[in-house]
Subunit: 240 residues, 2 copies
């Protein structure tokens, strides 16, 4: 029986969060036809805006994919935080999770897993600028590129989804297949300015921006805002 | 005056080719509002299929963006090769190029630049599996992550578009801005199995697959097929 890898699509998400792992795991289906990939959204006719000028269309509705073997939830900025209160999305994650082998997220997508109650007592990660929010969902924040905790696999910000998905491909189909996917998408990174300098003064400087983004996105959700701003975790913009 | 960065969208392209640089250069507009980003396609209502289950919608028609300052052309597999004969796309590239400061491509998108006559006498790159095709368009094939030759900037396969776009962001707006974009998309790569091993026996083994892909895609274009299969360059699947 074909196992379904379902990506969640919702308005305002960051397209690279979705498309990085989507390209990797669609590559997986070429080498291992026991998997298929779908993109699930509230409907398949209304394009979802993103935080770029590109609009995206799902291949399936949430209802059409009730029991995926693998779930991948992308993140984003303000719209993702607002989506913490979107029961059509969070409800689908909550209902699909118990029968899934892997529930994965990229970037702030892990907060959606948290809203679905999936991070209680788990180690998890998210975008560095929002890691302080994880304890509000019962999670222990971890500064790693991806974090595995039982069936839950959370990736760090945006581009980390590619690394996480290659790790997942190796787990699902073996290292040889993961290497072939990596070769086909020529993922042999050469960041022109090198890696990120986590000691850069830029980083803490972004803290107030993330804090403000959360407050704006959750202005209509006072209970949720109070919950996440209790701040049991590190401060906004604390990289490590 | 706002300078426009226009991404080309066409049916069957590889979404990561487009979305990697799109996420980077949309990030640029947040730090340098003298730039705007658009996604240009034949029309804005018909979703473009991709080589994944995701469908994409353009924000503008080609006609609406006749003179972008920067052009970015993504690649893909068979549909991109078939698009070498798509005059609505290739004609737009040809007409927009003379007034553009930068004409960029990702992966096999460089072949579309070639079809528009933009690679004559230039060093260029593309996906490793198709680099042998570049001499048919008058280009000298180069095995680098990205290659600059006057206004033409070509990137290697798929994921190379992220590196190329960060380089371009630094060129357009300075290294400090490029570093901020890199931080926001958390591009601090950790490929789980390390980088690509270019000496792997897998690589040459893919040669016949690329050769067959080209022959299938250009079956209806005998003149173009004859031109690209004259093979003045390296063999299909020759990585270096």
């Amino acid at each position: 029986m074909t196992k379904t890898i379902a990506f969640a699509l919702y308005p305002g998400c960051t397209p690279l969060d979705l498309v990085g792992p989507l390209q990797v795991l669609t590559g997986l289906t070429a080498f291992d036809p026991s998997y298929e990939v779908v993109v699930a959204g509230a409907d398949t006719r209304t394009p979802a805006d993103t935080d770029t000028p590109l609009r995206l269309l799902a291949s399936h509705t949430f209802e059409q994919v009730p029991r995926p073997a693998v779930l991948v939830v992308p993140g984003g900025g303000e719209p993702t935080l607002a989506a913490l209160a979107d029961e059509s999305l969070v409800g689908w994650i909550r209902e699909a999770a118990p029968t899934a082998d892997v529930v994965a997220s990229v970037c702030s997508g892990s907060l959606l897993l948290g809203a679905a109650g999936l991070l209680e007592g788990r180690r998890a990660t998210t975008h560095w600028g929002l890691r302080w929010m994880l304890p509000a969902f019962g999670a222990e924040p971890v500064a790693e590129r991806w974090v595995e905790s039982g069936p839950v696999l959370t990736g760090a910000g945006v581009a980390a989804g590619i690394d996480m998905a290659l790790h997942l491909a190796a787990r699902l189909a073996g290292e040889a297949v993961a290497r072939k996917i990596q070769l086909m998408i020529e993922y042999d990174p050469e960041p022109p300015l090198g890696g990120i300098d986590w000691d850069s003064p830029d980083i803490a400087g972004f803290g107030p921006m993330f804090d403000e983004m959360v407050r704006t996105a959750l202005a209509d959700q006072p209970a949720l805002l109070a919950r996440v701003t209790e701040r049991t975790g590190p401060a906004a913009g604390d990289p490590r």
